[in-house]
Symmetry: C2
Subunit: 119 residues, 2 copies
């Protein structure tokens, strides 16, 4: 049973490697084959296969084989899942800073006033 923590673990681990990000970068510009992705990386084909397995495992990339060539493509739904996690934390924190700012403002003015959140 794989929970969301597990899923994020895999996702961010996948994104933590420069070669894998380069592969994602390449795929963001269009579908491509395994050896095509390997070319600019300067590593062996088996190494690329292993990266691909990791990217597929966390859902960032899908692939299908036709003839002897395997074509890979990016899945942006998975990408946005990681994006959302970051976004939520950032938003939460920023809201907190806003509230703190207001509180300090009220305190420093040293007279009671309405405490509605600004629009």
């Amino acid at each position: 049973m794989l929970n969301q923590t597990d899923q994020l673990d895999r996702m961010f681990t996948a994104l933590a490697d420069g070669n894998r990000r380069a592969m994602i970068d390449r795929l963001s510009r269009g579908d491509t084959s395994v050896s095509d992705m390997a070319a600019p990386l300067g590593i062996s084909l088996p190494a690329v296969m292993q990266h691909l397995a990791i990217l597929e495992d966390c859902g960032l990339v899908t692939s299908r084989k036709v003839g002897r060539v395997r074509t890979c493509s990016l899945d942006t739904a998975a990408l946005s899942q990681a994006e959302q996690w970051l976004n939520q934390r950032r938003e939460y924190w920023n809201q907190r800073l806003d509230r703190l700012g207001e509180m300090l403002l009220e305190t420093s003015s040293e007279k009671p006033q309405n405490r509605e959140t600004k629009k």
Copy 2:
């Protein structure tokens, strides 16, 4: 000399660990001390220190010590850097899908028409 690739490596590596994400999660709800963060994690204090070092190293968290207690806080600017990387790739890919969709539409209709991108 540390380039942007290095920076993203560190950032995503930092985010790849569940305990560190839990620490970030905690910090997104307000500044807190080291032992305060350790409490819900069920790991030793030195372990938390090491996670903290990693989070500070990539700029996600800052801390200052006053008296004997060290207070940590989240830096959302760093968070949004990772967010942007993801966003750019996703956007690029989606635009590509849009263009592909249009191309298929034009092809299937089998008559020449204007090929402007839809607003």
